[in-house]
Amino acid sequence: MFFRRLTLRLALLLSLLSASMAHAQSTFRYPEDTRPSSLLPFFAEDMSAVRMVELLFDPLIIKNKRGDFEGALAASWKVDEDQGGIKFVLREGVKWHDGSPFVADDVAFTIQAAQDPKTLFNGRGKFNFIREVQVEGQFGVHVFFDRPIPDAESRFLFKIIPKHAFSSTAITRKDKFVREPIGTGPFKLKKGGYSLRSIALEVHSDYWKPSKISEVLMQHTPDKSMQISLLQYAGGKAGVQAVIFLPPKNIPIFENNDLVVLEPYHTISWWYMAYNHTNKALANQAVRQAIALAIDRQELLEAHLGRGDILSGPFTESSPFYNFQVEPTGVDTERANQILESAGWKKKGDVRAKGSVKLDFEFVMDKELASNQALFLGIQSHLKKVGITVRPTYVDHARYRDQVFTRRKFDLTLNIWSFEEVEDVYPLFHSKGAINFIGFNNSDVDTLLDTARATRDYKKYKEQMKQLHALLAMELPYFFLWSLDIYSGISKTVKSVYIQPYYYFTSFAEWGLSP
């Protein structure tokens, strides 16, 4: 009796402490694993920044739910007959968050800033096709290309930034704009809303489309289990209204849940195990083939990650380039052992070796990829059965990037590739590719990639990609693993949810919150 009275008094005390600080009813809250690296669209190179920028800025064109192009800042557009340019008529009456009018000069400035060699960002290559920009009055822009571009609209999904907020087209990562952005998007930064742990936005009252939600709060919550708690405890009423990515092991918590709905969405991303081809043993195709036959991907996927598709090549099954005629290899430990024996890799104790070269590899992993440890243990036990040993090295994220991608000091590694719109694998597998960190060099693959890059006909391009898929499934530059079924956990108080692949919040203005 005493304890019951005590707990009730404590409950009353806690409730009274809170009474003056009730939540805003239409604040949409969501946690992110990482803080956005920048709020300036050019430098928004991580996914949390991509999502935040989506709320703050608009592009000329968006891709709508049906996958069609739809005008955002552009009221209309017309591609030149020779496909050598595109002419935009801009939406009139659009205002920046500081009240200044949006005009054609802003579009020209965005392109010029992106092309300025002193603006240092990775996506500059996406603007290389633009030869010239002509401003035609206040609301007309004519963009000329350096060559005919089919499907030109897809090149204009980049966000527009205001000319009046910058003193020059050379924009640095330390620019004040990074912390105090001014966009035309449905939400603007609240005064003092950019803190280390959270970013608070309020609705842009002059937005050209009505928004149903009045405030957004992104909070940095690095621990995934804490994110789940925030959604689970409060059921989205007082806690957070969405968890962007639910780890598969947590999905059952929200199945048939009264307060939270599982919202599937598509991401163009796939997992892989990369071989360092500068390692003599791993440069041997027989070794790579044996590894592929020894590892049971289905078992690893089901045990540690949940649902997904086992892949046979460098595309997701939903991709137009995925070659369904190439079946993913199954597990065959016996055949893996035979292949290694025939290739001269003989067992000496637990490890196979040929001369002085042992099948003993350093497996470097990023600590931030939480499932790595469990996956590694599975892979280690599978490979042990065929006489291959792997030693783990766990490093933090910055060190991982330096060790694997810059210094290339690894034998095996596990990671994920995500793509924005187009699944361009040229940089991954061409011997001169910018992201070919594995040292893969195959003349057939190079020729096919070069031919595909020069192809203007989309149908032909698709066929070439399917050929590439088949070739890479045979050559195994990576061991292609799987693509996951991705789910967000979203409170049932959130209405009209549509999650845009990759960008997530593109249609957020249409989302609503019921009390």
Binding site: T7, S38, K174, R179
Partner: protein
């Protein structure tokens, strides 16, 4: 008085040398760690020429020792540089100082609370008895968990309590629920303070130390003499406890500030500890060095203040060399 000033001046000189040495070590360590701020912010496939230009923009193109020299030159006049990653372009001290002050207040208050509680408990417990063994055993068990474990259990416990009792009783749920939701409420700081008191074995460590000191003073001959004269012993016991209490406080402050870093991260409190961890993860070296200097300087300054207090209370400290 002159002797006191001399001791203070000598300590200040030593503190300055210590601060420079510590900043050098921190700077060199963070600059020499694999991966840098450019690696942390640029995506895969960033052309090497862009990475090189960014490295130059961030001042990473000079060797760590030269870089430290430049940093020291600027920091002497109060310019600790700008953040590279976590709040790009913002002056380090402008962003670090208020957050550090929060952390110091959190850690300092938690330690003060711990000291007050342990003193009170020591006085209440009096002479050791068999009954006390059960109590101290229980306290050892409760307070032995590392602060990050205590923080996780505490948040889960409070969340469960609010869900089960507060919501269940029909009361309005507090704005800080569920922890760690982003809120303006001060309650998460209060909870973090409790975790600091009970985590890392701090409470029992303090209790043992303070209790031993109280017992030693109470059982000393001069207290017995005062008691025999019929005079009040309390002022004498209190005065003789100032030095051990100040020593206990100052000696445990570094441990508590270490705990603050972890606890702020679990509760996602926008303080210096959370900032230090974020900056370290992203190799934002100006922020890491700036904050580390603040943490080190605060410990040095508090030690200095403690020395002065000790010397004022007990002038024999000067004779012992301060």
């Amino acid at each position: 008085m002159l002797a006191l000033l001399a001791v203070t001046a000598r300590r200040l000189g030593a503190a300055l040398v210590l601060l420079i040495g510590a900043s050098f070590l921190i700077y060199i360590t963070i600059r020499s760690a694999p991966g840098d701020a450019v690696d942390a912010i640029t995506p895969m496939g960033t052309p090497p020429e862009i990475k090189a230009q960014l490295a130059a923009e961030f001042g990473l193109d000079v060797d760590p020792v030269t870089g430290y020299g430049a940093w020291l030159k600027h920091s002497i006049v109060g310019d600790f540089g700008e953040s590279l990653v976590i709040r790009p372009g913002e002056e380090v001290m402008a962003m670090a100082a208020p957050r550090f002050a929060k952390s110091l207040l959190l850690g300092g208050s938690a330690l003060f609370l711990c000291l007050a509680l342990t003193m009170l408990l020591s006085i209440l417990m009096g002479e050791p008895t068999v009954r006390h063994q059960g109590l101290t055993g229980f306290l050892y068990f409760v307070t032995a968990a590392p602060s990050f474990v205590a923080a996780v259990f505490f948040t889960q416990g409070v969340n469960e309590f609010v869900r089960g009792v507060v919501e269940g009783s029909g009361y309005e749920t507090p704005p800080w629920y569920p922890i760690p939701i982003s809120t303006e409420s001060v309650m998460p700081y209060f909870f973090a303070g409790i975790v600091l008191v009970i985590g890392d074995g701090l409470f029992m460590d303090m209790l043992n130390g303070i209790r031993a000191e109280i017992l030693a003073v109470r059982n000393s001959q001069f207290i017995a003499a005062i008691r025999a004269k019929g005079a009040s012993t309390l002022p004498h016991i209190a005065k003789n406890l100032i030095v051990p209490a100040v020593s206990a406080y100052v000696s445990r402050l570094p441990l508590v500030l270490g705990g603050v870093v972890i606890v702020e991260y679990v509760f996602t409190l926008d303080g210096g500890g959370y900032m230090l961890l974020e900056a370290s993860k992203q190799r934002d070296f100006p922020v890491v060095v700036g904050l580390s200097v603040l943490f080190t300087a605060s410990i040095i300054v508090l030690n200095l203040v403690a020395d002065v207090i000790r010397t004022v209370v007990d002038p024999r400290e000067v004779a012992r060399g301060g």
